[in-house]
Amino acid sequence: MLKINSFQKVALSSYFVVLLLWIFLQTSGRTGDNVDNLNYWYSFLFGLIPLIGGLIGMFKSHIWGGLKSVLGKAIFFFSLGLFLWGFGEAIWSYYNFFMAEPAPYPSIADIGFAPSIFFWILGTWFLAQASGAMHAFKNSKVAKTLSVVISLTLAGVAYHMLINVARGGVLVPEGETALKTVLDIAYPLGDFLALIFATVVFALSRKYLGGFYRPAIASILIGLAIMYFGDFSFSYTTTAGTFYNGNFGDLLLASGNFFMTFGVLGFASLPLVKKESAEETK
C-alpha cells in the first residue's frame, strides 16, 4: 500500500473537498452564465492547494540540501512554481470577488501564473538528473531516439491543439495589447515545453526509477501533463468566450496542481527505514 505523509493527507483531503464542490457546481446548474460567488469560491479554494503546498515544499527542500543538491533544486523550483501559481490564483480571486471581473486576463494575476511554468520546466530539468532520465539519455541510443520521437510527435500535436484548435489558427489576434501578445505566446510555448519535458522524463526514467519516492516523482510529472490540458482548455474557452469559473478546465487545473503538490509534498518527510546491516541485505 502507498504510504503518504501527513502533508500529503491534508492535500488529498483538500482536493476531495474541491472535487465535491466542483460536482456540486455542475449538478446545481452553476455553469455558463449562471455563476455566482460559489464558483468564485471554487477558484479560490483550489488555488490554496499549490499556494500552501508550494510554500511547504520550498521550506522542506532543505531536507534534501535545498539549492545545494540536484533533488533539492528540483523540489525547490517545483514548489516555487506551485506557490507562484497559487499566488496568481489568489489575485484572480481578488478580481472575482472585489472587482466583479470573472476572467481577468491579462491582469496582475499573470505575474504569478506566467513564471510558474518556467520554474516547473527548471524543476523537471533537475528531476531528469535525479530520476534516471538523464542517465538513460546518455547511455542508450534507444532513449535518445525515443526522446526525439516523443518531442517531435508532441510538438506537432501540441501545436495543433494550442494554435489551431484553442486559438482558431491565430496565435496573436489583431488589436491585442503588448502584454496580452507576450502572454499569448509565452503560455502555449511554456505549456508545450513542459508537456514535452514531463513526457520524455517519465518515459526515460521508467527503467531506472524505483524505490520509496517513485510515486512522488510520477505524481509531479502526471500533474505537469494535466496542467497542459488545463491551460489548453483555458485558452480554448477564453478564446471562444465560453469560460466560466468552475468549468471543466478549472477542474483540470485543480487536478494538475494537486498532483504536482502531492508529489512535491511526498519529499517533505523521510521514510522510516530500519537500521541496515550486511546480514539484512543478503
Binding site: I63, W64, S69, S131, Y208, L209, R214, S277, A278, E280
Partner: protein
C-alpha cells in the same frame, strides 16, 4: 584509507550531490560503517563487500535502480582495482 573505504566515501559523496544531506543520514544507518563526514572519513568494520552492498541497498530503497547506477558510475575508478571476487555484488 583502503580501497573499500574510498569506495564508500565516493558513493556517499556522489549521492550527496544528488540527494543532499539525506545521503549521509542514510549511510549512517549502515551498521558496518563508521562515518566522520566533516572529515570525509569512512571506516568499515566486518566484511567490506557486505558493507558496500548494504550502503547501496540503502539508496536503492529510496530511489530504485537509478541509485545503484549512480553508485556504480561514481566508483568505476576504484572497482577496476579489484578482482571479480573482491567486487561487491551490488557494483557488478
Amino acid at each position: 584509507m583502503d580501497v573499500f573505504s574510498q569506495i564508500a566515501e565516493k558513493i556517499i559523496e556522489q549521492q550527496e550531490l544528488i540527494i543532499g544531506p539525506v545521503a549521509v543520514e542514510q549511510a549512517k544507518r549502515v551498521k558496518e560503517l563508521k562515518i566522520d563526514w566533516p572529515q570525509h572519513d569512512v571506516d568499515i568494520s566486518g566484511s567490506p563487500q557486505a558493507a558496500i552492498d548494504a550502503l547501496v541497498a540503502q539508496y536503492k530503497e529510496l530511489f530504485g535502480q537509478i541509485a545503484v547506477e549512480t553508485c556504480k558510475e561514481a566508483v568505476v575508478r576504484y572497482t577496476s582495482q579489484l578482482t571479480p571476487d573482491q567486487l561487491p555484488s551490488s557494483l557488478k
